[in-house]
Structure formats: structure tokens, C-alpha cells
Subunit: 210 residues, 2 copies
DNA sequence: GCCTACATGTAAATAGTTACATGATTGA
DNA sequence: TCAATCATGTAACTATTTACATGTAGGC
């Protein structure tokens, strides 16, 4: 089980498989959609995407869909049965960073194709990750409050409020999720809103990098 | 002016210079403080930090402060006059990514040592960057709303609300900044809060990566 | 006919982390 | 004395972007 030369970041892999779960697509289109699913306007480069697609194909998780590549030289990829399985494995597996902003965002973006029990686990994991963050933030603020100038204080406060808001948002989602034993969705995406309340406070990969 | 082998990311450089502006410090301590200043709990590794310090020293922006490295083998760095100047250049310079989350956060964290006019420019730059983001988000939502399942919708909505909140927060900060011709702060950190309103909606590098 | 957007790909450069090596100091 | 934490450093590896190279299709 050598580390394979082609192995790319598990996040990109997950995002690509997730998008192809909806519909077959070629690389160029995939890249555009990827920005929406990955953090805020983080556009992935072709230099990452194409090698990743080749790799996924080599492992049998996607195949070139010969029938649909009409006129242009484009290559339409579609998910295989093994690919679907692998996608389920990936969303469900919980490493130490699974609850970080971008990771969480991608997973939630594919909730429509995720089992109810896994969804709940992800929401709860995210929530407790944020609680940890709040604790750290609070104690750091308590320690340094004196020395801080107005701007820094404003910044810290703003950050904390955002996290608090996201926690409240998650609480609502979790509650709705628990109340609805709608269960083991797989292929059929639940078109109804999970939370009927429009309140929706909090924030998601709102702010992120570069 | 060859690209110099030691050149590290301008963001880390800025953060380090900014922290040393407050007080001389050694690498180990610097690393701990860096997490607060860089996005949410993004701890930088020593493998990045120490080479960066060496590089800054080689350029004369920091020096090893021989007098203060008491007992241990630790090396205390302090900012030189040229270092201070370079810091001012860095905070003031506006590249195409200057307004992205992490970049903005670091700059705002050092507002206490930034000229009033530069502060205003940064806040306004950030604000218009967020407006662009909102436009993109809104049109993307308008285009795809039909096809979206409840979860994705909730996620998008949540993200948008967060950005909107940050815009309102910035509006307040900008207004206060304009109202107060307090001006060209340099060394003395303004201990008073810039915005007396506790409202503080919006969010900052709230969510971030890994 | 030509320009723009579509579409795929690769090599080299760049950025950053991990794993390791080393040693000093403090407190139980 | 032993473990934990403090403290610095580097080589190898991983990930990812940039810059380039190449060609197609559709609109003006």
C-alpha cells in the first residue's frame, strides 16, 4: 500500500466525486462548479483538477463517458458504482480536521446524497469543534483584554459573534434533523427545506482564504 | 533584484513584523501569538517560521536582541527602524488579494499601528470586495435556486447572511473612522474603542481553514 | 478571417508541512 | 531523576499554482 504517486488531496477528490454524483461533467465545467462547493470563491486550478480526474479514472471511480462527448475535444466523466461507494466512505470518515471550515462546508454541500445518521454526526462534530474554538477564543480574550486596542477588540468580538451565530444555526439544523426521522436518504435528494424557520443565524465558510 | 531564495509569503512576513512591532519576542512565543493574528487557529509551523525570521534578519528588518536573551538558548528578535518602515509599506500596499479574508484580518489586527488614511482605504477595499462577492452569490443563487435541495439552500443562505453582516459591520467602522479625524496614529495605540456602539454585527475570518 | 471563450494538459516553480534531530530548563 | 515543555533548526516530502503549449468552435 505505497502512497501512490497520483494521490491528491482528499478534499478535492470528495468535491469532484460529489459533483459528478449529480450529473456527468467535463473538467472545464467541473472547475466552475467547484468554486461554489469549495470555500468562498476558492477556484481550483486546472493543474490540480486534471491530474485528479486522471487519478480518479485510474482507480475506477469515474469513467470517460464516450457516448456523451459530442463535438468538442472534451471528456465527460461519470461516476461508477464503486465511485458512489467511495464517495459514501469519504463523507462518512471522520479525521481530526473533518470539522474544519472548508471540510465541513463541502460535506454539507452534499447532504442531499448523505445518509441521515452521517449527516447528524457531521453537524454535531462541527458544533463541538466550534465550541472548542469559542472556549479558546473566550479564554484568550479574558487573558489579553486589558492590553488590546479598540480595533483588535472589535475584530475579536466580531469573530466570536460569528462563531456563536454558527453554533445557533447548527442547533436549529440538528434539532430539525432529529425531529425528522426522514432517514436514510440516498439517491433521492430531499427537495423540502429541512428547517422551515427562516431565522438562519450564524455563518459558514463565510470568510476564508485567498 | 532577483527573487531571492529566502523569500517567504508576504502574509507571514507582515504578521511577524506586526507582532514584533508590539514587543521583541523569540520564535517559539511568536508562533503562539501568530495563531491569533492569522485566521482562526491556523498555527504556522516552525518549518516556515524560523526560515522566515532568518530571512527578515538577513534583510535588516529585525535583529537578534543580544541583551535580552537571558538564560535559555532562545533568540529574541526585535524590529529595526527599517523594519518599521517596511511594515508600513507592506500594510499599505494593495495587491489584488489584499482584501481576501486572511489578508484583511491580519491588516486589521495591526490597525493600532496603521495610519488613519490607510486604515480607511483597507476598510473600504474590504467592503467593496464583499459587495462583489455578494453580487456573485446572489446571481448564482438566482440561477440555481430551483435545482437546489434544502441543505444546499440553507448553506448558501447562511453564507450570504454572514457576508451581509460583515458589510454592515464594516459600514459602522468606516463611519466611525470618518467621523473621527483622530488621524495619523503611528506608535501610540489608540486605547479607546473606535466604535462605541456595541452592536457589532457581521463577521470576520470567522470561518477558516484547517 | 479573426477573436473570444471553450477545453485539455504538463513542467517548473512555489509554498508549506511533517518528521526528525538536538538540547536546555522546570517542576513533581 | 524523570517527564513535560520550552526552544531551535533542517531535509524531505506534499500539495498546489503559474506559465506555458496546444487545439476547437462559435459569433461578428
Amino acid at each position: 500500500m505505497s502512497p501512490r504517486p497520483g494521490r491528491r488531496s482528499e478534499l478535492l477528490e470528495l468535491a469532484v466525486l460529489g459533483l459528478l454524483h449529480e450529473a456527468p461533467m467535463h473538467g472545464y465545467e467541473l472547475r466552475k462548479r467547484l468554486s461554489g462547493v469549495l470555500g468562498t470563491f476558492h477556484a481550483i486550478s486546472y493543474g490540480s483538477l486534471y491530474p485528479c480526474l486522471k487519478d480518479l479514472a485510474a482507480r475506477g471511480w469515474v469513467v470517460e463517458d464516450a457516448s456523451s462527448h459530442g463535438s468538442r475535444g472534451r471528456i465527460v466523466y461519470k461516476l461508477t458504482a464503486e465511485g458512489k461507494e467511495h464517495f459514501q466512505t469519504l463523507v462518512a470518515e471522520a479525521g481530526p480536521d473533518t470539522w474544519e471550515d472548508e471540510r465541513f462546508g463541502v460535506r454539507m454541500a452534499f447532504f442531499g446524497r448523505t445518509e441521515a445518521s452521517v449527516r447528524l454526526r457531521i453537524l454535531e462534530g462541527r458544533r463541538s469543534r466550534l465550541e472548542e474554538r469559542l472556549d479558546a477564543l473566550r479564554s484568550s480574550l479574558a487573558r489579553t483584554r486589558e492590553r488590546l486596542d479598540g480595533y483588535t477588540l472589535e475584530l475579536q468580538q466580531h469573530g466570536m459573534e460569528s462563531v456563536e451565530r454558527e453554533v445557533r444555526w447548527l442547533d436549529e439544523l440538528i434539532e430539525t434533523e432529529r425531529a425528522t426521522p426522514s432517514g436514510t436518504t440516498d439517491s433521492g435528494a430531499p427537495t423540502g427545506q429541512p428547517a422551515t424557520t427562516t431565522s438562519g443565524a450564524g455563518n459558514y465558510p463565510s470568510a476564508h482564504g485567498e
